[in-house]
């Protein structure tokens, strides 16, 4: 049904992304199995996996937004600093201006919305390169964070602390400790938010007109226009969604760390881009998949986890392995896509 409706070009691209996503999932599973075999009990506990989720819930949300923008052929490197800005603003609102949890949530989304409106307008309607626009967004958010408050501090607002320490138990996934006590496995609220975001965006990209438009615009803006798609509006919506997701992801990050600091989420934008790429999204646009992005985040954080449990605690190993992995996936992508292109020509 869907295949008949979609233009032929995008069918080929979507199978590309499925292939890339498949490679990524296989690598992820292999890596995890290797970790269980070589590093033993720690990785066997389901809680270890849930911890990866807990720590990376915000990154999952940010990467999903990044994937949306990348599918339309743009990029948004401001998301990391928007996260920092959201953390700091919400922290200040809660502790110094007597805000409550609801208003802080609204503030987070509003910050995302504001960034999205401005950046979306500049990118879509004034046709400025998305890199430059979001670079300015990054600088602006970075500066604004320290203008809001220059020093890091922990939030002590009662209702918020209660909310952030809420743990959702996962049935049947707990483990027994040495004394035979049952320790239930848990996830944080942020993980639920992240999973809901993943599912919603997956449906959006797969089954709605807007979602298909994203692929069409990213694949070839000119032919998308000839097909009667409003290219500018589609790009605008993609950037808007990305920034709003950065706001939501920022709040999830805020719930995870419970403090405001200018150095929060430093480099998160690069992690988000790396996750999207590992998950099979191409920066050139038109190719990408939310499920792939989800697994991209998992792969990236699992390798970090493995490196730290290998005891290579010199700080540089993490970065070097992540870079190596990124390089590997890029080469795989490049080779796979070239093979496919050569095959299509025959």
């Amino acid at each position: 049904m869907e295949n008949r409706l979609a233009p032929k070009r995008s069918i080929r691209n979507i199978s590309d992304t499925n292939l890339l996503m498949f490679i990524n999932i296989v690598v992820f599973v292999l890596m995890y199995l290797m970790a269980i075999l070589c590093l033993g009990s720690g990785f066997l506990k389901p809680q270890n996996f849930f911890n990866i989720l807990n720590e990376n819930a915000s990154l999952i949300i940010l990467s999903c937004g990044m994937s949306l923008v990348m599918i339309t052929g743009g990029i948004d490197i401001s998301v990391g600093q928007v996260t920092a800005l959201v953390c700091m603003s919400c922290a200040v609102l809660l502790d110094k201006h007597g805000g409550n949890v609801i208003t802080s949530m609204c503030l987070a989304v509003a910050i995302g919305l504001a960034f999205g409106l401005v950046q979306g307008t500049l990118v879509a309607y004034l046709e400025i390169q998305p890199f430059i626009v979001s670079l300015a967004g990054l600088f602006f958010a970075k500066g604004l964070t320290t203008i809001v408050n220059a020093n890091p501090f922990n939030v002590e607002h009662k209702a918020f602390v209660q909310m952030r320490s809420t743990r959702i138990e996962v049935p049947f996934m707990g483990s027994y400790n040495k004394k035979g006590m049952y320790i239930p496995a848990y996830i944080e609220i942020g993980v639920v938010v992240a999973i809901v975001v993943v599912i919603l965006l997956f449906c959006l990209l797969r089954w709605t007109r807007l979602g298909r438009n994203f692929y069409a615009v990213g694949g070839n803006a000119q032919s998308a226009r000839l097909l009667g798609i409003n290219v500018k509006r589609t790009k605008f919506i993609a950037h808007l969604l990305c920034s709003v997701l950065a706001g939501i992801g920022g709040y999830v990050y805020f719930m995870h760390v419970g403090s405001g600091s200018p150095s929060h989420a430093d480099g998160a934008e690069m992690n988000a881009i790396a996750s999207s790429i590992i998950g099979g999204t191409l920066l050139t646009g038109g190719v990408g998949n939310i499920v792939g992005t989800f697994f991209g985040v998992l792969s990236l954080s699992t390798i970090k986890n493995i490196v730290s449990s290998l005891g290579l605690d010199e700080a540089w190993w993490t970065n070097i392995t992540v870079a190596f992995m990124l390089c590997l996936f890029l080469l795989i992508q490049s080779i796979v896509l070239r093979r496919k292109a050569a095959g299509a020509k025959k």
């Binding site: 046709e127 430059i132 670079l135 600088f139 500066g143 790396a274 540089w316 390089c327």
Partner: protein, 365 residues
Amino acid sequence: MTPATNNKNAFVSGLRSLTRKQLFIPIAALFALIIFNLIADPSFFVIKLGYNSANQPVLSGYLITILDYGSELAILAIGMTLVTSASGGQDISVGAAIAIAGSVILRVLCGTDSRPDHMKAPIIVAFLVACVVAMIFGAFNGALVAFFKIQPMVATLILFTAGRSIAAWINNNELPIIAEPEFSYFGTFIPGIPIPTPVFIAAACMVVIFLVLKFTNLGLYSQAVGINPHSSRLNGINPAIVKLITYMILGLCVAVVGLIKVSRISTINYSVVAKDIEMDAILAVALGGNSLGGGKFNMAASIMGAYIIQFLTTTLYKFNVDSTALPAYKAVVVIILVVLSAPVVRERINKAKKASAKKSVKEAA
């Protein structure tokens, strides 16, 4: 037609052709900054001749600071312009690569001892080694872009992530300090010459690149490749090699800036050195009115862009803007400049101008 309207029309059309020139945006920005500073505080332009701690004559003042620090950016902007032109993307790893180059220089000069009494190797050897290393890393980026056809921003993301860690690794995470004063000449002042050395280094780089562009086909080829790699291939240019060469040239620029950076403080801080400089270098290219999508470029405009960025930074510092809050103001200025130079906006402005010109002609008639 009266002579007055004739003159006016000539003025309007002259203005229009002026605003279409690529150098218009950077020059206009520079004038705006200069006028702003003149009105706000003319003492901005004061240059003093003083003596530093070693009792050598040195010039000091905000303008000298701009020339001094803008030179690093200008050197980077040269390489970044070529890369942008040929590959249609930017290298975001220059900051990390500067850390690597600086680290290599210190490693060669210090050997295994992190506090040497005297340098273990001549500076020129260390610099050449750094050049080679930086060019290898440039070639790595270039190979990913040229042969594997990975988007430049993504390909350089690898080195961006790993670069500072590699830099720390090279020196075993130690922070070597070089005590000898000769080493600091490159980043500060040569005794007896009151102008900061980076200015001379930048000038030398500019002369070299000017000669290269004048007497080789590098500029032509990189523009051709940037505009259409396929048709340049049909014309006998190998796009992959041209892209690779531009990345290696950027590597060379990185090594020069690395030398200046470590020479300034005679040591290195891996996580801080040249932080965010890639953003400034890209902005310099964009401010010069060059398309970030590749193709035609104007080297002079890029270099000018670099100095304007530094002018802006120094102006903001002068008004006691906190260094951490600086990016917010920079962002506002950048957005204004970029919006003004956006093709859509310029078209509209031109249309409005035409309409007003027509109106005035009608009124005169």
